[in-house]
Symmetry: C2
């Protein structure tokens, strides 16, 4: 099973802060939704789930929330990235689709669990958070593709890790 | 006169640290050189000049170094970004071409002096520095283009500020 991290950075390289950052554009949400549907599942941290879940947005997807201290009715809750992947692998998925937030993304990167990355570069400069392994390791990437998402000004970069 | 900032970020959004980061690929240096020759000039901070200047690399270019406490034989030394732009404007250039490092780039961004940005996204994840206005302001960008530099895996994003 392949593990895919889907993320967005400002043009100056910051990960959006859910408290102070911009809302995603509809074109980007549509793109995320397309990728999630292809995978059949979506993995996220507790905070991301609480922000986005409106009872509909994740319908039809196997939703996995990584949280050590919460349970949710509509989602499978697991305690670690490894446990999330084990659950999805047992269910026979070809891809695990991880959307963050940044704390969870950084744990996946630190534990070398990511095979492919989508990074959307959004067209503004803003302060924010850092997407990076917490142990500061270097990861080589291979560019698989790049495209503008519709006419949004957002360039999506696609990489293979290693 | 248009002011262009040319910079590079890792795929996870960090500006390369000259002490610990990777060296630029030849394809990227060739691309930088092409842009500098088009402008006819190149503006940088003291440290960047001391790292790159080998007596040849900047030949044929009007080299401007922003430094408050050094003088160099082969370069015009000025004390501020504003002074650099004034000097180039008086000499009749259409474009001023700024290459950093990050301290200087961030001063240009903070002072709203940048009209266009080239940001090269290099294909690896690494720790590094932050490209951003020091006052934390939000800057909207318009995507002018995106292309891979030769077959380097580096995607160059081109933006207009504002």
């Amino acid at each position: 099973m392949k593990t895919i991290l889907y993320s967005a950075l400002t043009a100056n390289g910051n990960y959006g802060d859910s408290e102070t950052g911009q809302l995603p554009k509809q074109e980007e949400l549509n793109n995320l939704d397309k990728h999630a549907k292809e995978a059949g599942n979506i993995v996220m941290g507790r905070k991301t789930y609480e922000i986005f879940n409106d009872g509909e947005i994740f319908s039809g997807l196997d939703v996995v929330v990584v949280s050590s201290n919460k349970t949710f009715e509509d989602a499978k809750v697991v305690e670690s990235p490894g446990e999330a992947l084990k659950y999805l692998k047992l269910k026979g998925y070809n891809n695990a689709f991880i959307i963050g937030g940044v704390t969870l993304a950084n744990v996946f990167l630190t534990e070398n669990l990511i095979d492919e990355l989508y990074i959307n570069i959004v067209p503004y400069i803003e302060t924010g958070l850092k997407l990076e392994p917490t142990d500061g390791k270097f990861l080589n990437l291979e560019l698989l593709g790049h495209q503008e998402i519709q006419n949004s000004g957002i360039v999506q970069l696609h990489y293979k890790v290693g």
